[in-house]
Symmetry: C2
Subunit: 456 residues, 2 copies
């Protein structure tokens, strides 16, 4: 078989784009544990879930048997506007590192939301539209998910209510304005628009909000008005399903050039990007067809996989959502101010948690300054300014490539470059000025979070 | 001939990318007028220009006979990291407008500099490196050119000194930090680092700077230290030459699907994007092979083509640069606060000025609120949040498509989408809040600028 020259960027043609999502749960022997009703501690039924989520998304959430689910025509049309995303051969980074390793990255930042979040946002908006809803509600912290959802709702002309953590609303006015430009209403949380918001404001008059509080408000806003549902950008099984488009495209692009990766790396907050990227490869591993190493990278300041417990826990700090079995630091764990806002989540996707617990995936935690060093090194040779979240994966990809340099091994490394850092310049400024520091929680710090775990 | 289905995005393969730039001056009967030495009023010689610019770039600046110039291997390597840029069929915009017109846009925003500026920045950095220089200096207003040059210099490990207009330095800290992340030194202008800066600070202690002042400082910084040259991101012939990669790719992509455009539209500040986009098509028109309509779009607040004079003028408000013959409002014209910073230039590329004067190109001016209306309409259906500059072209593309709706004509419209608006959210916020207004200079306003034109 002749060696084809590998271009800098491998693009699929439109006709090569996936027409179905891949549901990795179908191939798992040990299925992820079901969501529990916090009142009864029994598995949530479809009917219960449909009060909060769109009906068809509930089906996807509960479906752990069908390996492939058709991507509706309308969603494929939207995907064609910004997908396929490029699989890039990092020739310049390889040269800079002088490594024999071959490095590839799947770049999901080439859309206005700036990240992979749009892949699931458009799907969730589509099903809401199909169900005849007026709109959807959600929460956002740093704003990537909120931006993606605003774009998706604008496309389907759905109303979009975003509860944005007040401190971000004030400190990140640019993200807020992108959402408003796409027609979303953005409310700083806590707010006077919900009962839970009013209560929190009464108890904590000066609070700048939290993601947990914003979730509670968004859920209340969805369930208290006719024609609305709540949507979520990570953690859930349905989100991993939609994000499988990342892995399917990656695999198709690699297959075109007969490339088999040795290691696949992704950053992990709630797990949506990593789960999406590795799903089809994990499927091959689960079916015994091929073997790969998978590495989840998390911040040392919020180490849910590497130092958390595998237990039932609340998905939100406000404790209004169902219980999920996952690797968790406890819903009461308050991560320190790490700039990778998207990775500051106490838990982890149930699916990824089960795969990790079964020894099918590795996890590694990295410190913030080392992450930004990798980000800047990458940016200067590969051009793209990466998001702090994505840079966690860059750090470990570089580390693995440097190991190859020592051993002389020509490993093929693939990592997920989930997004761009254009709205993260405050963090870069801190790094550029030498003012960034690291923080690793002590065992005692973690004990505080673990003590709050529910008794299930 | 069978009709091929046209995908949402037409990508060229790497092997289809241009290997030569196209120099439209070679095919012009009336050549653009030469730059004049402001002291002698005689054409600038290569020797004189080489005090300020890199030697090989001076050759390109003066060459109006060779139609094709090889793109060096090293530049083509860098281009492969972010090029080819997609030519997008605006299916969703067409549907929204219900127009029979077919709309395409060449999207140059998919790189960290956020615009087409990188195409020339990497070329200019390459020639500086080849000449053995230590570094380059430049000025930047809004920061797109400075960002592009910082990225290019990081790639070739050249020192990069950017003089950033003080008001932007303070109000646009994010752009500043992107440049610093790529290793550039960014100095607010006027500064104490140059004689001209000191002088200006002495005369105007509270000044927030201007582009003209920053140019003067950058030129002084380049010419007063060994091993440095000054580089410029627009207006010059060499820049149009490098930017021809936009038009060459566009033409190659259209040719693949046997598409012939009727109208080609671009925004015009100094002319680098428009000149690059239309060059190869203009070449066909100049050689009598085909006919196209070309429309340059400028802000009504800074109407150099539509209301300016065709005359010799200073390229910079500081009057340290050579004189160029161009459509100009006078180097003393102060445009009102229009948010499209990249279009607030008093003059216009000499090449484009000559083509316009010869009746080979049209020009249209549009008002700011109408531009942002078009920007938001576009963003909501096509996903991409456009830069205010680029949105001038969107406005006219939509206007032309709506005319087709009235007449029923199926015209093919191509426009240049030069960049993204992620760093322009202050302007979007103003628009979203209904606080944006229009400004059109009176004839008396323009007379002030015309009075300052040099007597040549």
């Amino acid at each position: 078989m002749g060696m084809k020259e590998i271009p800098y960027k491998i693009y699929l043609e439109e006709k090569e784009m996936p027409t179905q999502w891949y549901n990795v749960r179908a191939d798992m022997k040990n299925k992820p544990a079901p969501l529990l009703n916090p009142a009864t501690l029994k598995p949530m039924t479809a009917e219960e879930l449909e009060h909060v989520f769109c009906a068809e998304l509930v089906q996807q959430e509960l479906d752990d048997t069908n390996p492939y689910i058709d991507i509706p025509e309308e969603i494929r049309g939207f995907y064609k506007m910004y997908r396929p995303s490029p699989l890039v051969r990092a020739y310049c980074l390889e040269k800079k590192l002088q490594t024999p390793a071959k490095i590839y990255y799947k770049f999901e930042g080439n859309n206005t939301s700036g990240s992979h979040k749009l892949n699931s946002a458009i799907a969730q908006a589509y099903y809401a539209k199909k169900q005849g809803l007026k709109g959807v509600t959600t929460e956002t912290g740093a704003g990537q998910w909120g931006t993606a959802l605003s774009m998706a709702c604008a496309y389907f002309e759905l109303d979009c209510k975003v509860y944005m953590v007040k401190v971000s609303y004030e400190q990140k006015p640019f993200r807020r304005e992108v959402m408003r430009t796409y027609g979303a209403s953005v409310t700083p949380s806590p707010s006077e628009t919900t009962n839970i918001g009013k209560q929190i404001l009464k108890e904590h008059p000066g609070t700048t909000g939290s993601l947990g509080c914003a979730i509670s408000e968004a859920v209340e806003a969805a369930t208290s008005v006719e024609g609305y549902r709540y949507v979520l950008g990570s953690v859930l099984n349905q989100v991993l399903l939609h994000q499988s488009v990342i892995g399917l495209e990656t695999k198709a692009a690699l297959d075109k050039y007969d490339i088999t990766p040795d290691i696949i790396i992704g950053c992990a907050g709630g797990g949506s990007n990593l789960g999406g990227l590795i799903s089809p490869f994990m499927g091959e591993k689960l079916r015994g067809e091929k073997d790969y190493r998978f590495i989840a990278v998390e911040p040392a300041s919020c180490p849910s996989l590497t130092r958390g417990r595998y237990a039932y826990d609340f998905c939100d700090t406000g404790r209004v959502c169902p219980l999920a079995k996952m690797y968790t630091l406890g819903s009461g764990f308050i991560p320190s101010a790490n700039h990778a806002g998207g990775l500051r989540y106490h838990g982890m996707s149930s699916t990824l948690s089960q795969l990790y617990d079964d020894g099918l995936m590795e996890a590694r935690s990295v410190e913030q300054t080392a992450v930004f060093e990798a980000a800047v090194e990458f940016a200067r040779v590969e051009g793209i300014l990466p998001a702090p979240e994505s840079s966690h994966a860059i750090r470990v990809a570089i580390d693995e490539a440097l190991k190859c340099k020592e051993t002389g091994e020509e490993k093929t490394i693939v990592f997920g470059l989930t997004g761009t850092g254009y709205f993260d310049m405050v963090a870069y400024e801190k790094f550029n000025n030498g003012e960034m520091s690291d923080y690793i929680p002590t065992d005692a710090d973690l004990e505080v979070g673990f003590k709050g775990l529910p008794q299930v």
